[in-house]
Structures are given as structure tokens and as C-alpha cells.
């Protein structure tokens, strides 16, 4: 499953058990609906592990934070899954905001490159 836009890409690879978000998420609430549907679809497969890679996500607005929090809540409610998030110190928002996901799902691991 993949959403490709000139400003961003969201990709779910079920074999690799990996979601990759790249580019710039500077969208309106309604524009995030398609992204959230993809994320929910990935969450509802209930894989044993899931890697979410934000390393090349340059910018995320508060509506984007809301979308990703909804996804993490869905993962939390689905239980079982072990979630690993990877990010980069290159993008200031990741250092500041990725920790919010761990508050929702304390077992989530965050790794910075």
C-alpha cells in the first residue's frame, strides 16, 4: 500500500512489516484522512512487530501529529504488536515530538540515527 504525492510518500510493506513516511506533512485535517486509512489498515493486520520509519519526514504539523497519535492509539488498542519507531536528529520536530507516541504506548521503542 502506498500514497504518493509531490510533497510526501506513505508506504506500508507487509513483508518487511514496515511503514515509511517521507517528505513534508503540512496538510489540512481532511487531507490526512487517506493517510490515516492506510495506517489503520496496516495496524489492523495485527502483525507481531511493526517498524515505523520517520527518518526522512522533514516536517509534521499538529494535524499530522493528531493523525499519527490516532494510529498509535489504534496499535495500542490492538495490543500484541511490538512497535519500533525510527527517526533522525536532522529534523528538529522528531526530537521534540516523537516522544509523545511513547506516552500513548509505553512499550514503543524509539531509535534515532
Amino acid at each position: 500500500m502506498e500514497i504518493k504525492h509531490e510533497d510526501y510518500t506513505v508506504k506500508f510493506d507487509s513483508e518487511e512489516k514496515k511503514i515509511t513516511c517521507e517528505g513534508t506533512f503540512r496538510l489540512t485535517s481532511s487531507e490526512y484522512i487517506a493517510i490515516l486509512e492506510l495506517l489503520y489498515a496496516a495496524a489492523d493486520i495485527k502483525l507481531d512487530v511493526l517498524h515505523v520509519d520517520f527518518t526522512d519526514l522533514v516536517f509534521l504539523n499538529s494535524s499530522g501529529i493528531n493523525t499519527l497519535c490516532k494510529f498509535i492509539i489504534r496499535l495500542r488498542n490492538n495490543e500484541a504488536v511490538q512497535v519500533k519507531v525510527t527517526g533522525s536528529h536532522k529534523h528538529a520536530w522528531q526530537k521534540k515530538s516523537l516522544g509523545n507516541f511513547k506516552k500513548i504506548l509505553p512499550s514503543l521503542e524509539i531509535e534515532f540515527s
Binding site: R26, S29, S62, S63, A92, W93, K103, I104
Partner: protein, 190 residues
């Protein structure tokens, strides 16, 4: 009558030497184009101000990247809010002023809102000043799972994630009792 929430500090135009102001009408472009312009404006402010943090060693680069990321995020959120909630958009311009000081960047976002909505809005803003904003964030994201409207996370993330102090000033809008002018002040320590 003027009303403030939080510790609102007026701009000192005699002492503020380094600042940028952008002033425009929110009706000039359709919403999707305006949204794109918010991004362009925020990136411009961020790129411009980051140039005041030179140096090629790792610590300087990190500081420059942090200032740039913070200014981009905060300017973008303030502009998005102003676009979403502007009232009398055909009469009232939207203005963003960003002032650079040695240890602080201060944003002043001014736009016009519907007077009838101000009281309910002020109640929510008072919560941001009085309550535990970490707990408010967790409550808000759980509530948001039930709906597809706005996130109401802009101010909360500025406070919690970027250590921003916020304050608001409401004033009458000259010539129209149905409107009020609001200025949001956001202090970002750097």
C-alpha cells in the same frame, strides 16, 4: 474593552530592531492555495532567522537546525489557525510579526475573529494557562479519536514540545461590533 489571557507583552517598537512582518488578506487565495502559502511563509521566516545563527561546528549546526525547525513549526501553526478562524476576512488583514532577540524569538499573530465565539474560546485558552498541559494533550488525543474535525493540538504542542509561552490579547474591531481582533503572542526561548 481590551482583554488579555496569559502574560501578554506588547512589542517595544523602539527597541525591537530585528523583526519581520508579513501582512495579507486571507481572501486573496482559495483555501488550498492559502494552505500552501502558510507553508511557504513559515519556511521563509525559518530560513531567514536561521541565518542569524552561523557557524559550521556541530553545536552551531544543531542550534541552527533547532531554531529553524521551531520557527517553521510555530509560524505554520499560527498561520493555519489564523486562516481557519478568521472572521470578516474581506475587511481584516492577517499579520504575522516575528521579533528576534538574543535569547528569544517572539511571534505576534493578529487576525479578526467572530465576537460571539470569543467567550467560549477564552475558556479553552484559560485551561492552557491554568492546567497541566501534558494531561490536556493526552485527553485531547483520546477525544480526537472520536471525530474528524480539527485537532486542537497546535497550542498544546507549542507549549509541551517547543517550550513556548503563549498569551492572547482581544480588542474591539473598529467599525464592527460582531468582530474582535485577536493577537496571539508566542515566546520561544532559543
Amino acid at each position: 474593552m481590551q482583554k488579555t489571557i496569559g502574560k501578554f507583552i506588547e512589542r517595544d517598537t523602539n527597541k525591537d530592531h530585528e523583526f519581520l512582518i508579513i501582512n495579507f488578506s486571507p481572501t486573496t487565495l482559495p483555501l488550498d492555495k492559502k494552505w500552501r502559502n502558510n507553508g511557504l511563509t513559515a519556511v521563509f521566516f525559518a530560513e531567514y532567522l536561521s541565518a542569524f545563527f552561523p557557524g559550521e561546528d556541530e553545536a552551531s549546526k544543531r542550534r541552527r537546525s533547532e531554531v529553524k525547525g521551531a520557527v517553521d513549526y510555530i509560524a505554520n501553526e499560527l498561520l493555519e489557525n489564523a486562516m481557519k478562524f478568521s472572521f470578516l476576512a474581506h475587511e481584516a488583514a492577517v499579520q504575522l510579526c516575528v521579533v528576534l532577540k538574543p535569547k528569544m524569538v517572539t511571534f505576534y499573530m493578529t487576525n479578526c475573529v467572530e465576537a460571539a465565539s470569543v467567550e467560549a474560546w477564552c475558556k479553552k485558552l484559560n485551561l492552557l494557562i491554568m492546567e497541566d498541559t501534558e494531561a490536556l494533550f493526552m485527553q485531547q488525543i483520546e477525544d480526537n479519536c472520536e471525530k474528524n474535525s480539527g485537532s486542537s493540538l497546535g497550542y498544546l504542542t507549542m507549549i509541551n514540545d517547543w517550550n513556548v509561552s503563549l498569551a492572547w490579547k482581544f480588542e474591539p474591531f473598529e467599525g464592527n461590533e460582531k468582530a474582535q481582533q485577536v493577537t496571539v503572542m508566542a515566546h520561544l526561548p532559543i
